[in-house]
Symmetry: C2
Subunit: 596 residues, 2 copies
Amino acid sequence: MSYRAPVKDMLFAMKELANIDAIAQLPGFEDAGYDTAQAVLEECAKLNEDVVAPLNWEGDINPSHFSDGKVHATPGFKAAFDQYTQGGWQGLHHPADVGGQGLPKLIHAACQEMVNAANLSFALCPLLTDGAIEALLTAGSDEQKATFIPKMIDGTWTGTMNLTEPQAGSDLAAVRTRAEPQPDGSYRIFGTKIFITWGEHDMAENIVHLVLARVVGAPEGVKGISLFICPKFLVNADGSLGPRNDVHCVSIEHKMGIKASPTAVLQFGDNGGAVGYLVGQENRGLEYMFVMMNAARFGVGVQGLAVSDRAYQRAVAYARDRVQSRPVDGSVPGAAAIIHHPDVRRMLLTMRATAEGCRAMSLVAAAAYDAAHHHPDAAVRQQNQAFYEFMVPLVKGYSTETSLEVTSLGVQVHGGMGFIEETGAAQHYRDAKILTIYEGTTAIQANDLIGRKTARDGGQTAKAIAAQIAATEEALAARPSADAKAFARRLAAARADFLAVVDFVAGQTKASPNAVFAGSVNYLMLAGNLMAGWQMGRALMAAEDRLAAGDDVAFMQAKIATARFYADHLLTRTAGLRESIVDGHAGVTAMALEAF
Amino acid sequence: MSYRAPVKDMLFAMKELANIDAIAQLPGFEDAGYDTAQAVLEECAKLNEDVVAPLNWEGDINPSHFSDGKVHATPGFKAAFDQYTQGGWQGLHHPADVGGQGLPKLIHAACQEMVNAANLSFALCPLLTDGAIEALLTAGSDEQKATFIPKMIDGTWTGTMNLTEPQAGSDLAAVRTRAEPQPDGSYRIFGTKIFITWGEHDMAENIVHLVLARVVGAPEGVKGISLFICPKFLVNADGSLGPRNDVHCVSIEHKMGIKASPTAVLQFGDNGGAVGYLVGQENRGLEYMFVMMNAARFGVGVQGLAVSDRAYQRAVAYARDRVQSRPVDGSVPGAAAIIHHPDVRRMLLTMRATAEGCRAMSLVAAAAYDAAHHHPDAAVRQQNQAFYEFMVPLVKGYSTETSLEVTSLGVQVHGGMGFIEETGAAQHYRDAKILTIYEGTTAIQANDLIGRKTARDGGQTAKAIAAQIAATEEALAARPSADAKAFARRLAAARADFLAVVDFVAGQTKASPNAVFAGSVNYLMLAGNLMAGWQMGRALMAAEDRLAAGDDVAFMQAKIATARFYADHLLTRTAGLRESIVDGHAGVTAMALEAF
């Protein structure tokens, strides 16, 4: 089952929802309008459809493997990676002065969806390299930037993020990897890092590890963590490769999914110390890492909607093909393709509406990021930054949690064949499960949503967004169509649920932390659902307008039906979540720990 | 992580909810009271904890494998199977006159949970053998019963159900396997059956295949299907094994989960025809198969709650052990075991409440089955039969759909370790996904719920159950405790949602089949949630009473907290489902098939 990048859907969302025309007005993005986006997306689609997607199943049956200290990538991956980087895709949104193309995050997000839908395992290598680039752009010296970034952009080298240790997963305060200052200004790094994605491989000549470690004598906890560059091969002054550094892969994990992506255990300093170079200032490592993590979290959210769309496409193809039973309405005299059955359509629409809603949410967030970084007006920048930061845990948490439901439905549509690995649906189900875990579990995203994004400003950002949603409701309600009116009603109910929860969170986090945090993930799910649903409501209006103009009738009708489905089947979930959040902690707190 | 059978929880539900004392009053069950149940469950727990559970992971890494036409079971499985059958567990609930122990389904259901929680793959062999025994008990001749059943009960032979063909999955009307009558009264069977669980293996000396086939000249569709016994080895008059029959395994599937359970493709009649013996009358095969399928569907529901409980136990153990981050309420000065974190407790309680609710629902249904078959009063039998039949699609559908959420949470509690296969949480996640598919997908269960169980009697059975639930609400509301009052309120809301949906289904199925069937699975999820929740409300009252009597304080407090959690976090989901069902078909029907 081949992958078809949803270029038309992406362009619709970019134009109608994320307002790419406004992005193209921002300084530095003058050439990044709709036509550019269309050309870039079409090119990107070709590469991912023809080259990257066909390797997805191959990566599952022939995963990365480890022998003699080396990791061998799935056959075909290196050639595809070379095409990817030589095509300029690694540098798409990075600044031109380090070798990138300087395009908006809005366009990058769409391209990022494609490579992830094509092949999650493959896409992780560019994703982590992006993270390393972001970290160096944020805090690296000019020399560090010049030395490392262009080679990561052109694919000669790749990057990694080294955070986790056996005792330090969600809790980075527990990081123990140690950095000893050397007379020459460098450091020696000692310690063990685990779960390092693409931490060792043979697709590039060098790997630039970005490593969290504690300088000897640094304070305890998160305020004593620094960030280091620790390349696999040291780099000579002329940029050529020097000696092998003392960082070695000792094993890779045997995982349920994303099997082609090697997950390495890296040992630093077993032979005298790995040479590391401080990035920025000592003890500010976590702060830099957060910049990079926000980018990576957004990227993982995109992975969620990407695998959802891929699972959807596969399920539709099967549902059109598989003939089984007569439709309940008698519309076909004998057995029909199962897409005729209402429950199959319900499953497919759940998948489709989820993917579309999450895509719209992520693209609107990406556009806010672009405005936050490029708008000439500081107040507008600040406003967009607040919006973007509010959205990051939702893009990450909601798009990935829903990808579990979507990929499960993808298997379900296939019936018994879905459970057979060769069908391919099961791989999406297995792959997706990591997305709610890495780059911060859903609970970690929810803590961020509650703490930094809601309680800290007393719910102001949340309420400002709710006010925008109310405006969308009014516009929907003023329309003559039954679909728009129904959507307005559902959206209003969901917004009321959201506001009740925001008040609860803003009011109670200090006084009753257990009660609030017992509802943290439910709050994230409610908020993510509402934000995606809001965009679906805007999409409904745009589609109605273009339909009235006679524009692409079937496409616009499908947009309207999908939006209506979102309202009736997904937005309706917020009522129950609200109850669980504001009045659902009694059982949680009453249960004695030893009684579990 | 070892398995501990929840004997105490089971006995609580059997006594307080399923009323085992009343079952022990029924003719034939005089010795099957609480004390017997306790003795049987404790014995069963030992076997499954010590022998069957330790083979679960082994089966995943060393699955059944096929070579030269033979299937080799996972090492250790045969010895465990011998212990299982020699212990009398295969015949627990089958009649004494065919070698069983004649115990109630109520006790069997609890034992069935244990073997499935211990090892889903292993448990499938007895489960399918049970199905074959049921079919023969229903429609077999005395000679067939005498020849085949005792040997299936003592484990010398096993049984299978051969329904599916490549073109006939959910749609059994499409069965093409052909049976040619022979002069001696036997038949020759020709065709291909797929997805045959334990269809070939080396754990028993013979395999009794029960096969759906179409006698030459039979009517088209479901009314032309007959049921045949087609043993792997023919059986001589003295019961000894005769020649090899012409049914052969040509391959087994490469599956996402339950890997130790061989899923066979069986070829019948490639060398002249497989000898088959008609069971009952020609063309009534589907009717007989439905008896057996109802038993198997109930059994698969039990598999769902079993894997949920196993995943829960594993997650609790990890959450107690894994230290990470400081609790948000500052109750521990430093990093604490993650069970201290409210979101982890929410996840664990979601898992626990789901497993307990589904267990209670299944045990109450099993007791109704016992009363339906053993009560001296025909009206009581009929009433219990209607209740049981209403519950079967809910036990199957709800307990398995929720097992997907529960096993996913099980992985999530483990964080990154959950994605590593050796941890074991991922196996439950992979295994569980088949449960919503085999023995009728959730949609097939939902069709049954709508068609035969709701629309056919105009919603009378559903409303009679709702009336019983209303009585529970009143009893809850009359109690002084906040927990009981809160539960009464949630239960009343969920029951109102259920009744609105029942009216919609009963009133609209004929006139608007697409609208009703677009909500079929949501109706099943709503009804299952309510039925399990109802039992949790009854459990809450029983626990309060026993707590007041000073009985097992910590246990009863945990029961109350779990019930309260169920009310606030799970019962609250019905409101959204109701909306989607009664007012959610616009998008489904508006979406053009070619637009997907």
